[in-house]
Amino acid sequence: MAANVEEFVTRRYKQGFVTDIETDTVPPGLNEDVIRLISGKKGEPEWMLEWRLEAYRHWLTMTEPHWAHVHYPPIDFQAISYYSAPKSKEQQEAEAPKSLDEVDPKLLETYDKLGIPLHEQEKLAGVAVDAVFDSVSVATTFKQKLHDAGVIFCSMSEALREYPELVRKYIGSVVPHSDNFYACMNSAVFSDGSFVFVPEGVTCPMELSTYFRINEAKTGQFERTLIVAEPGAYVSYLEGCTAPMRDENQLHAAVVELVALEDATIKYSTVQNWYPGDEEGRGGIYNFVTKRGDARGDRSKITWTQVETGSAITMKYPSCVLTGDGSVGEFYSVAVTSNYQQADTGTKMTHIGRNTRSTVVSKGISAMQGQNSYRGLIKVLPSAEGARNYTQCDSMLIGDRCGAHTFPYIEVKHPGAVVEHEASTSKVSDEQLFYCRQRGISEEDAVNMIVNGFCKDVFRELPMEFAVEAQALLGVTLEGAVG
């Protein structure tokens, strides 16, 4: 089987790859030469290329996972182009809309509802903006402040050039390149991503946001992010943006690795609002991401907070490996599926160290024909004396055509472990809506209010500005779900 795939891949390569080597986008298909090309274009160290190739060879032996409660047509991995060079400024400007007048009015309507200022709308919609409005100046002050604190925050490509030894030490140490089908593929072809390093004892002076990273747009579909917090360090990282960005890639297979050493804390917050497909369920992004944090040091802490309203298909399980004694893992999630969206999401908490604690709060909201599944694993190893877990898993249904599913897995290998699981399913009831409307609140606002109330435990964990945006986003996502 593997040989056949390889043969097929090679054949594609022979057909037309060589002549295109000078162009910015490689032809569709994946093979070792494509990987060499990616690595070469980025000027990566030799070990990185070897690592990518190892991942690729392993990937060839793997099969696509089908255990998730989602349905989609088969993906043709050889039809995807795995490298697209960053376009020159001239090219970008030539292709970009000249002003907001050229942007889809529906998108602008959403921006307005989210309360996004005009110049940011232009940036998000990809308008070739005037330098004054560009965030470069913001980003520069930002970089200086971080530099003074000793924090490294840059793109993965830059990190591989500037800090190769640091990257080498940690990359793949949480999510090995052989981990799973999509993570393995990412390891072979990852385009770019973020690298964060917070040195010993340093509290990162600000929330780090992908939004502020220069050249953040066009990191492509195979992002790879690595965050390392040295002993006693603290960092809060915000991924994503509430506004829908222009995106031409359908398959996204990212990997995020977090490493927290002794007494370090990493908070990772995500707001994901990628294109979910239209009302009929056509199009939309597949989000198959592997996110895992290793609470490696004693008393370290990793918190994942996510608000997911986008993508057509989501398979995502931000996890914590609680290696250090007394380490803490937390997962707070709101996942919304509306129209024909499908989400299979949850977390894995692996208790290895003694007195490790984990908390899982998952809120799934389904509306229209949306299908929402919670899938979670709580694993307590024999070494994890005194381990505790608390899981709360709530589903809310809006309307009668959607679905909510729960797949909890609990594996306990230490007799003293305390594992609690609470689950509930509720509906936005007619009584609740009528009560609000009788008080003068419109149906749409009432749904928003009830749903936001349901998600409060999670929103509380988000950084303030993000929480406000997330609430507005939920409203936009559930628009028209009732009535």
């Binding site: 009560y435 009788q438 003068g440 209010m449 009830i450 349901f454």
Partner: protein, 256 residues
């Protein structure tokens, strides 16, 4: 005398296949307090819900005019904006939604419909606190979720409290006295009495006379079989208390 604030004529209504209201007539003027009494199943609560715009009931005949407007064509929230308030018999719980948040949203929605600015946060809070005090509610109530974990008495007090903050013109109170002990009943009555005024009408739907010991009604109506069978003053309520609803049923049978 200007036209009645609320005028109900020949109202017929059904829920699914059951006809509940069968030709109900009622007039309520501003400044008045009306008590609507009647045995279980007489249509009291149905009337309250139809006035508030609950969707399950189908009006098959008749009309309801409120301040000169056809009330039945308005959405529930539009009725609320126009000053109609229903104190629910069983207020629903809304987990995670803060009491005060709901109330502020409600007040601002009404103000917006009236073309007014949003309420000033400081003014709002001081008004809320003063009214909470009157209803014997402590500050912890501010941060609790709507009706969640409230005792029966707390829920009823909350309804009256909301009514005080929203200052509606037509207050419909659906069995607000049911399930209250005497102390709670007094608090609720105090709130309602506080609301009495020349520009406001109050309709009390109740099964028992005892609420009327604390709130003096101007008019008492007895409902049976989906119609107003008898109207009178406070003495009618006392007569009912004494003779029981069987007396009403007998009268109904004899007039039928």
């Amino acid at each position: 005398m200007s036209e009645a604030m609320l005028k109900i004529e020949n109202l017929h209504a059904r829920v699914e296949d059951a006809e509940i209201l069968r030709g109900l007539d009622l007039e309520v003027n501003a400044g008045e307090v009306h008590a609507i009494m009647g045995p279980n199943g007489s249509g009291k609560s149905t009337l309250a819900h139809i006035l508030a715009g609950r969707g399950e009931y189908e009006v098959t005949d008749g009309s309801v005019t409120y301040k000169g407007q056809d009330l039945l064509t308005l959405e529930p929230e539009e009725r609320a904006h126009a000053g109609v308030f229903l104190a629910f018999q069983y207020p629903v719980e809304i987990p995670g939604v803060n009491n005060v948040y709901l109330l502020k949203a409600a007040l601002n929605a009404k103000r917006k419909a009236q073309g007014l600015e949003e309420v000033d946060a400081v003014d709002f809070l001081s008004d809320v606190k003063q009214k909470m005090k009157l209803m014997g509610m402590d500050d912890s109530f501010l941060n609790r979720s709507v009706n969640q974990g409230f005792s029966g008495g707390e829920k009823k007090r909350n309804e009256v409290f909301q009514m005080m903050v929203l200052e509606p013109e037509l207050c419909i109170m659906d069995e607000t006295d049911s399930g209250l002990d005497i102390d709670a009943l007094k608090v609720v009555a105090r709130g309602v009495n506080e609301m009495r005024g020349p520009d406001r009408a109050i309709v009390l739907v109740t099964h028992y006379q005892r609420l009327l010991d604390h709130i003096q009604p101007d008019h008492v109506h007895v409902l049976a079989g989906g119609r107003v069978l008898k109207s009178g003053d406070k003495s009618l309520a006392l007569e009912l208390e004494e003779k029981g609803y069987d007396w009403v049923r007998q009268e109904e049978a004899s007039t039928a």
